[in-house]
Symmetry: C2
Subunit: 148 residues, 2 copies
């Protein structure tokens, strides 16, 4: 049986959040968190709107997800995020004990895997490259627009 709710499906949802960010003039990064196959939180980067460098999509999604569950830890949950998390978000992902992290485009300049490769929970599963091209294209389009 084909499962329509696979990693690609949820990454598309994260990508929709990224697109919403772009429309608001925010760097287009989107995230969703799932629990038992259902989306419990969705967020996009809001650093400009909130004038707050900590308001990355992942941070907002983690805070929202813990509110939804009423739990402090997100053990068993999965984060989908369009771009590889930065050091800050990777640290938050570690604290939250998220079990699975799925990201689209890599971020060689700011990504955690270069600067803080041990940030996640030791048992966390990481999948990368899901809809990589679409996620990267969203970023490219945004920064090309900025340069005009």
């Amino acid at each position: 049986m084909i499962n329509p709710y696979d990693d690609t499906y949820f990454m598309k949802q994260a990508l929709q959040e990224a697109q919403a960010a772009a429309e608001e003039g925010e760097i287009p990064v989107g995230a969703v968190i799932t629990c038992q196959g259902k989306i419990i939180a969705r967020a996009h980067n809001q650093t400009e709107r909130l004038n707050d460098v900590t308001a990355h999509a992942e941070m907002l999604a983690i805070t929202a997800a813990t509110n939804v569950l009423g739990a402090k830890y997100l053990t068993g949950c999965t984060l989908y995020v369009t771009v590889e998390p930065c050091i800050m978000c990777a640290g938050a992902i570690g604290w939250s004990q998220l079990s699975t992290i799925v990201y689209g485009a890599s971020d060689e300049k700011r990504g955690y895997s270069r600067f803080a490769p041990q940030a996640f929970h030791p048992k966390a599963v990481v999948k990368k490259g899901i809809l990589e091209e679409e996620c990267a294209e969203e970023m490219r389009r945004f920064f090309q627009g900025k340069r005009k």
Copy 2:
């Protein structure tokens, strides 16, 4: 002339925040941010109260300081924090472009210097060990109390 508003003075203020955290049953970490020698934000760990693993003293202080200044970046500002920042907070400190980071006790288990040593802005100045013993004692006392 003796300057009463030196690093020790501001670390004492951060320590007061840590003590306030302990009284609330929170892990006792406190932070203040100064700008031109004046405190513009003070915060303590609120992960329990807010049920949010991202609510570390440094994160709350950074968000508060940017609100006070109406600026997105904290260039020229100094963060005083009683315990060495974790990966998440170090990443946030990097994004915020804080110029000087002063911390009391080292955190060998969770501190950024082991896991993400390049997290701060490349030009940031780091001072450690200010009131180290008092800051560490605050943590020891808290965890010893937990074990009773």
